[in-house]
């Protein structure tokens, strides 16, 4: 071989210096008061994963309880509290902050080529708001728990005797602020801190997704905040605009709640789609297919998300005309979602696919999201929805979307950026086995629930007819398999932290800017403004045995530049 291999000049700079953000300063204070977006992202990640463990334990308890009809391990009241806690923790503490706040904080500024987010202090503040919200949620357990379901529907939520309702509402209110500030920060960062050369259409698709998410966070969350505020005052004084006995309207609460919570579903899924765009393209080493379509479909989903909330309320007594309109608009959400799915599939087609752990999660996502999305059509159809409403079919559908897609996307992203975050590789083989176990366990758990639901098993019930038992048993076994998969995945990460191989600058062959700085990145990301190119052009990369990662090949780079120049002339 006569080619002279040399990494990009920026990569040389950073690998020469020993500075990295993890060890740049030491001590508890340096972390607790840090303004570094990477440290804040890592702290979020730790907090989110801890909440995920708690929420997951509640899920396992629920599934265990449902093994037999009637009482298995806990009383009916406890069961009500368990499913409420599972829902509230998973939605508000895990999925909503998982990708934007944890991964987004770590990745967004580096991908963009910025030194930090636009308002680092606000960023730290939103982290502490999150902690505060989580504390209130925990406190609500001590104050007597709550059994309203994660949706806090009135009038039950204003009349139930469980004592933890106000604390948890306060907690969610505070978490909402944390989410708004993160969104605000990201919008301003993307607008103002792009380095020279980073045009809108050179931004990696993950950034487009985070940008779309931030728009939803900023516009929808205030409505939730005021709704919860009104609910708190209403519960304190036993009177208010959701109280039908005083002329108020409980369905108004549902409108307000879903005006936030439907967009919130997209706060969960859109960033996961962004991650999948990165993973699919990088790990199949092929230029992303239909870049602009994917980018704009993120924005389109964000816009649509605001005008479909009524499909949660088909049986609430709203007028037939409204139902029809909401049903039609809900169908049209399928268009941008399908645009993305087809583009990912086209990217895979004839790509050089490496079956790495992130790619395994990427493929799981494609499969599970397709099921989750298509079953959504059954629910958006008015007449089938009347039958399926409030059954396990709905439970299965949103678990396929929220967990099978959003959470799998987040775990995939964690595997993808783990070497960058920690500077360590994990055991690829174990990680792949874990991903397969999770995939199998997930489908056993939730596909069964589609059958349960279509046969009429209502959701949230403690007791059930004996003929449903076989499905419940299968579903519970599936959840145990899945839990084992997650523990295997966690052990893989722990092992990586304790004695993982040192990660190269570019282990997967990515071209976006974060793969140009060392692993882990230096505290200020880039010492000089990074060189921005087409972040999906992988033609100039080749595997280097000595580096154990991908490097830019000078000769291929020259060729590619020449080809581009020809293309322009």
């Amino acid at each position: 071989m006569t080619t002279i291999v040399s990494p990009r000049p920026e990569a040389l700079d950073t690998s020469a210096s020993t500075d990295n953000y993890l060890t740049f300063t030491k001590g508890f204070r340096s972390w607790a008061l840090t303004l570094d977006h990477k440290r804040i992202g890592v702290m979020y990640m730790g907090a989110v994963l801890a909440s995920f463990l708690v929420g997951g334990i509640f899920a396992l308890l629920l599934r265990t309880e449902l093994l037999t009809p009637g009482k298995t391990i806990v009383s009916a009241d406890m069961y009500n509290q368990f499913f409420t806690l599972h829902g509230a923790i998973m939605v508000f503490l895990v999925i909503i902050p998982s990708i934007p706040a944890a991964l987004g904080n770590f990745v967004l500024p580096i991908m963009l080529g910025a030194k930090d987010v636009a308002f680092p202090r606000l960023n730290l503040f939103s982290f502490y708001l999150w902690i505060g919200g989580a504390m209130f949620t925990l406190y609500s357990l001590a104050a007597g728990g709550f059994d309203t379901g994660w949706t806090f529907y009135t009038p039950y939520s204003t009349t139930t005797t469980t004592g933890g309702v106000i604390p948890v509402l306060t907690g969610v209110f505070i978490l909402g602020f944390s989410s708004i500030f993160t969104g605000l920060n990201f919008i301003v960062t993307v607008h103002k801190l792009r380095p020279p050369g980073m045009t809108w259409f050179r931004m990696p698709l993950f950034l487009w997704a985070l940008y779309a998410t931030a728009i939803i966070q900023v516009l929808a969350t205030p409505v939730l905040a005021i709704t919860l505020c009104l609910l708190i005052v209403e519960r304190l004084l036993n009177i208010g605009i959701f109280n039908p006995s005083m002329g108020g309207d409980p369905v108004l609460y549902q409108h307000f709640f879903w005006f936030y919570s439907h967009p919130a579903v997209y706060i969960m899924i859109v960033p996961a789609m962004g991650i999948i765009s990165e993973i699919i393209s990088v790990h199949s080493h092929r230029q992303i297919f239909g870049y602009r379509f994917i980018a704009f479909s993120s924005i389109a989903i964000a816009m649509f998300s605001f005008i479909v909330w009524g499909h949660h309320m088909f049986v609430s007594g709203q007028s037939g005309l409204m139902n029809t309109i909401f049903s039609l608009i809900s169908f049209s959400v399928a268009i941008p979602s399908a645009v993305k799915t087809f583009n990912w599939t086209m990217t895979l087609y004839k790509g050089t696919i490496s079956l790495t752990a992130p790619m395994m999660y990427g493929l799981s996502f494609l499969f599970l999201f397709t099921i989750g999305g298509l079953t959504g059509i059954h629910l958006a159809t008015l007449n089938t929805d009347v039958h399926l409403h409030d059954t396990y079919f709905v439970v299965a559908h949103f678990h396929y979307v929220m967990m099978g897609s959003a959470l799998i996307g987040m775990i995939g992203g964690l595997h993808h950026w783990w070497p960058k975050m920690t500077g360590r590789m994990y055991n690829e083989k174990t990680a792949i086995i874990a991903s397969i176990i999770i995939f199998v366990g997930f489908n056993i758990t939730f596909f069964t629930q589609f059958m349960l639901g279509s046969q009429g098993m209502p959701r949230r019930y403690y007791d059930y007819q004996p003929e449903f038992q076989i499905y419940h048993v299968i579903s519970t076994i599936g959840s145990y398999i899945m839990a084992f998969g997650f523990f295997l995945c966690a052990s893989c990460f722990v092992q990586s932290l304790l004695g993982g191989k040192k990660a190269p600058v570019n282990p997967w062959g990515g071209r976006s800017l974060e793969w140009q700085c060392s692993s882990p990145p230096p505290h200020d990301n880039f010492s000089s403004p990074p060189k921005v190119g087409n972040c999906y052009d992988f033609s100039m990369l080749r595997w280097d045995e000595k580096e154990q990662g991908y490097v830019v090949d000078k000769e291929l780079e020259a060729k590619s530049i020449a080809a581009e120049a020809r293309g322009h002339s």
Partner: protein, 178 residues
Amino acid sequence: MWIFIVVVGMVFVSTILGYIVVRLNPHMQAPWRPSTEAGLPHTLIVSTIVLFASSVTLHQCLVRARRDDTKGCARFASVTYWLGFLFVLLQGEAWWSMWMNNVSIDENLYAWTFYVLTALHVLHIIGGLFALGFVARRATEGFYGAARHNGIVLCGMYWHSLDVIWVALYATLWFGSR
């Protein structure tokens, strides 16, 4: 800042919409405001004028800063601050007069919405007073001039938008109490 104003706007737009929905509820049995209960206190008219005046003075403060008139800028900044403070006191007085007329918050929806909506707005005003206080202190230190007055601009955007929101809110309450 614009994004932030949109955030605050969303809060109030949804509240007002909610108010309209329950106000126009066709199934309501009792009248919205029982004839025995007092209408909106007249203090609200005074407080509206005060809030308007504070917006004018804040704008004057900006104009002076652009002309490099440090003293005028400081004077108007502190006048604005005290007008804002006065507004809060007047709202308190309005509450007091409602209370004295035996309209307590847990009476009916008319009272509930009055207290909750005005409280929501006053809380945002108090938040704005912190920013105004900061601006006023800096102005007295001679910080703002023709070259540097971004703080006043940003504070003003928030303050004026609260002004607009108050008008919308007051109109809603007024029409609602008919």
